[in-house]
């Protein structure tokens, strides 16, 4: 149960989250995948904090949780606003950056 295992697991969870963002189309699920990636980062932080031996990594992880919470709030607010205006909840329909 070396620290390595935790970090590798974190990398695996991160890659899974990234793949999820690329293949899902609903903004809700994309936000969930974003949560996956954030949590993977948290796991890596806490593992390193254990490796180094002080609690700073854990404080970092707590702050990251705060940020994640804010981001979820705003993102879900956006989704609700989109739903209210009867626009389709589909990331592919937002194409104004077309070339």
């Amino acid at each position: 149960m070396n620290i390595e295992w935790f970090i590798v697991l974190s990398a695996l969870l991160f890659a899974t989250g990234a793949t999820g963002i690329l293949i899902r189309r609903s903004p809700l699920v994309i936000l969930l995948c974003l949560e996956l990636m954030l949590n993977a980062g948290n796991l890596a932080l806490v593992a390193f904090s254990r490796m180094v031996g002080n609690g700073e990594g854990q404080v970092f992880a707590v702050i990251v949780m705060v940020i994640a919470a804010c981001e979820v709030v705003v993102g879900l607010g956006l989704i609700v606003a989109i739903f209210r205006r009867r626009l389709p909840l589909n990331v592919d329909d937002l194409r104004e950056l077309r070339g």
Binding site: I21, L22, D92, L94, L97, R98, G99
Partner: protein, 671 residues
């Protein structure tokens, strides 16, 4: 002031005149342009006289000065200066050119008075005189070529002076193209001279040439032949002569100045100037002499049947220049230059008189429609007869002494050169016939309508309706101008009368400066230039001179008599002769088919090449390359544009792909 300083002034005044008129034409009234132009050339002539006087102050052997303003190109073995060379030959030409030009400017002052392009005319004419003076004063081959090219341009500009007439523009282009052929020959000769002798400067070249070349070596022969190409193109000798008759499309003063007295004599001047080279290549000199002889005879035959007044005089010019070329090629340098001088006088005069008659005829130039001007225009006819007498070499006139001097020299040289004497006299007979053919067709006899109107009323009416070119029926453009808008005849214009009068006097009496056995002004003056030449020292004996003069006189009178017989006493004879000798007449009348031959041999192949270049090369190769490049770029752009599809997820994919790539790179580079 030194002779070279005067020479620079000679060049300066016509250039200033041309620029002043060109730049200030909006501000200058018409008369002022004419006065400025004439005064500029008059001043040039005065400076020429001053240079002459200054040269006379030197010893004969020391009468050559070079002077340069600045270095034109001084790099890698080239050392070309903007330099002039003042010696008896160049001053001789300067005086003839500026003197005759002054008179012609005076004539144009009256003749071109009502033309729309009055200012343009004088500006171009001044520029032409400047170029010609530059040509004769040049001290090295580069400046000679510059003057040569300028003269060609001036000729083009003045031939197509009425540029809305299609015939005029065609003629201008033809003259220019043939001139360029000559220019190529001249430039190649200059290159070869530089390669062999290392310099362009006259003094250096003529000094080194006898040391470097042996006689008839192929290099020097090539140089001389190339020089001849240039000379023949400019002086309208066979086969580069076809531009001269067409050049009669220009106004009459232009024909008088450029195509009789000055530009066409540039070839003669060139051969005389480079006589050192020609004496080292006798083969080339002989070729030149034979071409001159051939031109002499062929042109005379063409002049015999030509019905256009100005063109007949043009062929006469060609023929007389054949005499001059023949003269300077066989070594009769001073005789050739003397004939150049007298020819300038009487040919300019003939053109002026012809111009006056044509103006009376509202620009109709066909002698079949003319007649009876002897009674209608007294002054013009008298001067016309003076010119014709000099042309025919009537005893005592200037042409008499100059032409026979060339033929006497040929006889004195002996051997093969006797051919030139014999055929020269044949040509002289034909000259006398055609000269007086013109006189007897135009002056005596039943007056044509225009002449009748002059006799009855003393002035000419202006035609009504839109003006039309009599030769082609094309409607004239009144904005640009056209000949014959007003009838400016000598009888009604003082400047024209003054100019023609002076020339008539010179045509009749200028020959007396070089009467064999009495005085030899021209030869003495030109002697220092040709000092080193072996040929120039051949002198015919006095008896041979007098025999020659006698034969010449007899031939001239015989010719005039034959002309009288054919055109006055028995007018039905020419028709009969024509019917009997129909093939010959057709050959002469069609100008020996030279135009058709050149069209077939040169013009058509060039046009075929041009068509190929357009259809195949331009459309397929060049366009294909350009369009191909454009298509490729456009395609590539299309591919790149597809990346911007607006989908956020594809952007995220690219992001992660980039990140993965970077990580791979760092992993690999750190392993």
């Amino acid at each position: 002031m030194s002779a070279t300083a005067w020479a620079w002034l000679v060049l300066l005044f016509p250039l200033l005149g041309s620029l002043t008129i060109a730049l200030g034409f909006k501000a200058l009234p018409a008369k002022a342009a004419g006065i400025i132009g004439t005064a500029a050339i008059g001043l040039a002539f005065a400076c020429g006289i001053a240079a002459l006087i200054s040269l006379l102050g030197d010893e004969p052997e020391a009468r050559h000065h070079a002077s340069s303003l600045w270095d034109y190109a001084s790099v890698a073995g080239l050392d070309i200066k903007l330099g002039i060379y003042v010696d008896p030959l160049s001053i001789f030409m300067v005086l003839i050119v500026s003197g005759v030009s002054t008179l012609i400017h005076l004539y144009s002052y009256g003749y071109m008075q009502s033309d729309e392009g009055y200012h343009r005319f004088f500006s171009y004419l001044n520029f032409f005189v400047f170029s010609m003076l530059l040509l004769v004063l040049a001290g090295n081959f580069v400046l000679l070529i510059v003057g040569w090219a300028f003269v060609g341009f001036a000729s083009y500009a003045l031939i197509s002076f009425w540029y809305r007439r299609e015939t005029a523009t065609r003629a201008g282009m033809k003259a220019f193209v043939i001139n360029v052929v000559g220019d190529i020959g001249l430039v190649l000769a200059a290159f070869l001279i530089f390669r062999e002798l290392g310099s362009f400067d006259y003094a250096t070249v003529f000094e080194r040439a006898p040391e470097v070349f042996t006689t008839n070596e192929w290099t020097i022969t090539a140089i001389c032949l190339l020089l001849l190409v240039g000379a023949f193109a400019k002086s309208a000798q066979l086969p580069l002569h076809t531009w001269l008759p067409d050049a009669m499309e220009g106004p009459t003063p232009v024909s008088s100045l450029i195509h009789a007295a000055t530009m066409v004599t540039a070839g003669v001047y060139l051969i005389a100037r480079t006589h050192v080279l020609f004496e080292l290549a006798p083969t080339a000199a002989d070729i030149a002499a034979f071409v001159g002889l051939a031109t002499l005879l062929v042109a005379a035959t063409m002049a015999l049947v030509m019905t256009d007044l100005k063109r007949a005089i043009a062929y006469s010019t060609m023929s007389q220049i054949g005499y001059m070329i023949m003269g300077v090629s066989i070594g009769a340098y001073s005789a050739g230059m003397f004939h150049l001088m007298t020819h300038a006088f009487f040919k300019a005069l003939l053109f002026m008189a012809a111009g006056s008659i044509i103006a009376a005829m509202a620009n109709e130039q066909n002698i079949d429609r003319m007649g009876g001007f002897g009674k209608a225009m007294r002054f013009t006819s008298i001067t016309f007869v003076c010119g014709a007498l000099a042309l025919a070499a009537f005893p005592g006139t200037s042409g008499f002494f100059s032409k026979d001097e060339i033929l006497a020299f040929a006889e004195a040289r002996g051997g093969m050169y006797l051919i030139f004497t014999v055929f020269g006299y044949v040509g002289a007979l034909m000259t006398a016939i055609y000269a007086f053919r013109l006189v007897f067709r135009v002056l005596p006899g039943k007056p044509c309508p225009e002449a009748q109107e002059l006799i009855d009323t003393g002035h000419l009416h202006h035609p009504h309706g839109a003006p039309v070119n009599p030769a082609t029926g094309e409607e004239e453009d009144t904005d640009v101008g056209f000949p014959g808008a007003e009838h400016h005849i000598a009888e009604q214009s003082l400047p024209m009368r003054v100019a023609m009068g002076v020339l008539a006097f010179l045509a009749l009496f200028a020959g007396f400066v070089q009467v064999p056995g009495v005085d030899d002004v021209v030869e003495k003056w030109l002697e220092p230039v040709f000092e080193a030449s072996a040929l120039a020292h051949i002198h015919p004996s006095l008896e041979a001179d007098y025999i020659g003069l006698g034969v010449g006189g007899v031939i001239a009178l015989a010719g005039i008599g034959i002309a009288y017989l054919l055109y006055v006493a028995r007018p039905e004879l020419p028709g009969m002769l024509e019917r009997r000798l129909r093939p010959l007449h057709t050959l002469f009348a069609n100008k020996w088919y030279f135009d058709e031959a050149i069209d077939l041999l040169v013009v058509r192949p060039v046009l075929a090449v041009a068509r190929f270049a357009d259809r195949v090369f331009e459309r397929v190769v060049v366009d294909g390359l350009v369009s191909g490049t454009e298509g490729t770029v456009r395609g590539a752009g299309g591919v790149v544009r597809a990346v911007q599809n607006g989908f956020v997820r594809s952007y995220a994919l690219l992001l992660i792909a980039g990140f993965a790539g970077l990580a791979l790179y760092f992993l690999l580079s750190s392993s």
